[in-house]
């Protein structure tokens, strides 16, 4: 190796390492990552006790990784490399042509039976009619899109326990875009089919597709699977709003206090997390009132995020739809139903959430 060439390699190596360090130091720290939809670690505060326990150095490592320059570019590069190597699974997400499908992990032992038991106990505690609706994930409905032989937990036995037949309602339209390609949620179309399945089991009149005029709310929706997988090269999803706001009054208890809200929070359409524009995303309690339905019928939805796209449809057939989230609403559900004159309680969960949720026990209060 000549001296000049050695110098070149040495300089190149040092510049690469030092260059990224300087970049890292100069780059202002971000509070959160839009792409990953999470808050990022900040520079930890130094203390002798934290140093001795080792938690300080751990926090520095986390901070250094979270605030690394071009974070999203690196994760994208990794996904590309994995694809070149013939991998089909990317951080628990299968790449199936132009569609991303989340792998369903096997639930912890006893989890499913425990959660099913809580629903039964709620039925024993309230006078309202209780139905359980389990929404199959794309890995079930779009099974044949998965890579041959790829593993995903078999949902069929659990779905047989669902009183609302979401599975058949969705399977009948499996060739339509009923799930987002880059997000784990159902699309507005999927939620429409789901709403009719739920209305059917509550003995309500079904909705007709031609009564709605879909509005394309966004054509650049990159969902949770886009972030989780690092696969950033697929076409973004379209997102539609079907139900018009007229006649509907939305009230939200986002901060514990009653405040007016709307069916769609369009500010989210400018952000990464566009799905949260449905009712404004996760919240303890939200009530949709429809002044055009005058029979006084009231439905309580024990929700996960799938219900946000579902509720606008249900509000077409009920005077009031209450959405209650067990992760944030801690008072007894049966008492809430009694106080508000609820006639029907629908516990509607996606399979993936139902098999991992630890809050359903609150139903038994």
């Amino acid at each position: 190796m000549t001296k000049a060439y050695s110098r070149f390699l040495t300089a190149f190596f040092c510049l690469f390492l030092a260059g990224l360090l300087v970049w890292h130091v100069l780059l202002p720290d971000r509070a959160q990552s839009e792409t990953e939809n999470r808050t990022l670690a900040q520079a930890p505060e130094f203390s002798c006790s934290a140093l001795v326990s080792g938690s300080y150095t751990e926090a520095v490592e986390e901070y250094f990784a979270d605030q690394f320059p071009l974070r999203d570019g690196w994760t994208g590069l990794k996904a590309r490399m994995e694809q070149l190597l013939g991998k089909r699974e990317f951080n628990g997400v299968y790449l199936c042509g132009d569609t991303l499908i989340s792998k369903v992990e096997t639930p912890a032992e006893g989890m499913v039976d425990k959660n099913l038991g809580y629903i039964d106990r709620l039925a024993g505690k309230t006078g309202a009619n209780v139905v359980l609706g389990l929404i199959p994930s794309a890995a079930e409905i779009w099974k044949e899109k998965l890579p041959a032989g790829a593993g995903s937990w078999d949902q069929t036995a659990l779905l047989a326990q669902s009183q609302v037949d979401f599975r058949n309602a969705l399977a009948a339209h499996a060739d339509e875009p009923i799930f987002y390609r880059t997000d784990h949620h159902w699309t507005t179309l999927g939620a429409f089919y789901g709403a009719n399945a739920l209305l059917d089991s509550l003995e309500k009149e079904p909705l007709k597709e031609n009564n709605f005029t879909p509005e394309t709310a966004s054509d650049s929706f990159n969902g949770t699977l886009y972030s989780q997988s690092g696969i950033h090269w697929l076409e973004p999803d379209n997102m539609e709003f079907w139900v018009q706001e007229e006649g509907l009054t939305v009230t939200s208890w986002r901060t514990g206090k009653e405040e007016p809200a709307s069916l769609y929070d369009r500010t989210y359409l400018e952000k990464k997390d566009k799905y949260s524009s449905f009712l404004g995303g996760n919240q303890p309690l939200c009530v949709i009132k429809n002044e055009n339905v005058t029979d006084g019928s009231k439905l309580l939805l024990v929700r996960d995020s799938y219900s946000d796209a579902l509720a606008p449809f249900l509000a077409q057939r009920f005077s009031e739809v209450h959405l209650l989230d067990l992760r944030y609403y801690r008072a007894p559900v049966s008492a809430y139903a009694a106080e508000n004159g609820i006639g029907d309680i629908a516990v509607v969960y996606s399979v993936q959430n139902f098999i991992s949720d630890v809050n359903l026990v609150l139903l038994t209060q």
Partner: protein
């Protein structure tokens, strides 16, 4: 701190290099000592104390051995004293729990979980293992022995000695650098841009082996082990898992060694090679001449030969092999499976030496290669599964105690086929030979391109926070 982390690559390393090369020549050992202490203290700051203790005790014992050079009895006593100190250190932090557990199983006597002396409570059980303790205690043990044997001069400068004990490139995952290997370099070493460039290139190779090769196949082993737990393991899956683990540990370990050797060279040190394409071996004994060579040669020089080696008749030779391989196995972790793993190899080595010798000579090379690989990879099964009942069930599945094949195996094979091909080729000398045949011009152009690729892609994998285990936490 570990090499395959963002903080090491993009904060510790550039700052350390800058500090080191800005230091005047005569103070560089001090800089090396300080940055190494920082490196070591990063994970468990409190354990820096062990470093100081090690430096002080071995340094003084070296001097004492030198002082009583003419009084062999005394000199030997000081060698023994330093060996005992190092073994006690290792014994307390690494083997205490294991011994206590087994004592309890044997006699029902339970050792206290902590000891209160003068109001201070000292925990006696479940003490976290100081990282790399098996490596650095072996290195410091070699020092007094080398001085005693006149294989190396005594080190009078405590800073230089401290730099040897704590030297961060090989501190936590080897190679085990004997004192005599670097004695000369500690005092007079060559800092040249050529050393730097060659070292940096070697570091990039090692980094890619660890982050891109070892980590990418490790997940496959974990999946098969989980399948064993869930009762869905097939024979094909079992073998894929063993292959995956064998590749993972080889590329992980030899990658670490490459990074260590490369970093050493950047600072002007010449470490010995640690791996020589072990999976090309055509016998188990050859495998052990090519695998973790710094450990095998340590045991040969400081244990096997002092015990008498193969001199003194068959019975003594057999005894010595069993002792050495018991220790080799036990060195890898305080658990019965590691002891079993060591004795498993002792059995094969004895078989090869006394029974199979003539048979193997007549066997065609490909068959011998296959035989060696099967022995070694089944050995990895014993190595990787601490719970011997799990290990037994897993290996039973590999040898026909389970369905041969499932649809999931097809998916797994398709997902990892390219990775397997890359790993197999990388285990041979094909790359080295191909590289040597390239015209010099092509090498010159390709070197920075490949280094950049390695750094870029490794960074991508590290930023993504993918699977990146440190396999030697038991060592």
């Amino acid at each position: 701190m570990i090499f395959s982390s963002l903080t090491f690559l993009f904060a510790y390393l550039p700052l350390t290099l800058a500090a080191y090369f800005l230091t005047p020549l005569r103070w560089r050992n001090l800089t090396l000592l300080l940055v190494s202490l920082f490196f070591y203290g990063w994970g468990e700051p409190i354990y820096i104390v062990i470093m100081f203790l090690s430096i002080l005790i071995d340094y003084t014992h070296g001097l004492l051995v030198e002082k009583y050079r003419d009084n062999d009895k005394k000199a030997r006593r000081f060698v023994a004293q330093s060996v005992v100190f190092n073994l006690l250190l290792l014994g307390f932090f690494k083997y205490w729990d294991f011994l206590a557990d087994n004592l309890f199983l044997l006699t029902g006597f339970s050792l206290p979980a902590s000891l209160t002396l003068l109001g201070v409570t000292i925990p006696l059980r479940n003490i976290p293992l100081p990282i790399g303790i098996s490596f650095f205690t072996f290195q410091t043990m070699s020092y007094t022995i080398d001085v005693y044997r006149k294989d190396a001069p005594v080190q009078r400068n405590i800073i230089s000695f401290g730099a040897f004990v704590t030297m961060f490139p090989q501190l936590i995952a080897g190679p085990i650098v004997k004192y005599k290997t670097v004695a000369e370099d500690l005092n007079h070493r060559v800092h040249s841009t050529e050393n730097f460039a060659v070292g940096a290139r070697r570091f990039c190779v090692g980094l890619a082996k660890k982050v891109l090769m070892a980590n990418s196949i490790g997940a496959l082993w974990d999946a098969q082990l989980a399948a064993q737990g869930a009762g869905t393991l097939t024979a094909a899956g079992g073998w894929m898992g063993l292959l995956a683990f064998g590749f993972q540990i080889y590329f992980d370990f030899s990658g670490y060694s490459d990074m260590a050797i490369g970093l050493g060279q950047i600072f002007g040190f010449r470490f010995n090679e640690n791996f020589d394409h072990p999976y090309l071996s055509t016998s188990v004994s050859e495998f052990w001449r090519r695998w973790h060579m710094s450990l095998t040669s340590w045991f040969r020089e400081y244990l096997y030969i002092p015990l008498g080696g193969n001199r003194g008749g068959t019975v003594k030779a057999l005894r010595n092999i069993l002792i050495v391989w018991f220790c080799t196995g036990f060195w890898h972790g305080a658990s019965w499976n590691f002891i079993l793993w060591g004795l498993y190899f002792a059995a094969w080595l004895i078989l090869e030496k006394y029974v199979l010798r003539n048979v193997l000579e007549k066997t065609p090379a490909p068959l011998k290669h296959l035989y060696t690989l099967i022995v070694v990879f089944v050995g990895w099964g014993i190595f990787a599964m601490e719970d011997l009942s799990v290990c037994g069930a897993y290996l039973a599945a590999c040898f026909g105690g389970a369905p041969l094949w499932s649809a999931l195996d097809g998916y797994t094979l398709r997902s990892y086929a390219i990775t397997f091909v890359i790993l197999i080729v990388a285990s041979t000398t094909l790359g080295v030979r191909g590289w040597a045949r390239l015209p010099e011009r092509a090498q010159k152009v390709l070197t920075p391109v490949l280094m950049a690729l390695s750094l870029l892609v490794c960074t991508a994998y590290l930023v993504d926070g993918s699977y990146n285990p440190f396999l030697y936490f038991r060592f």
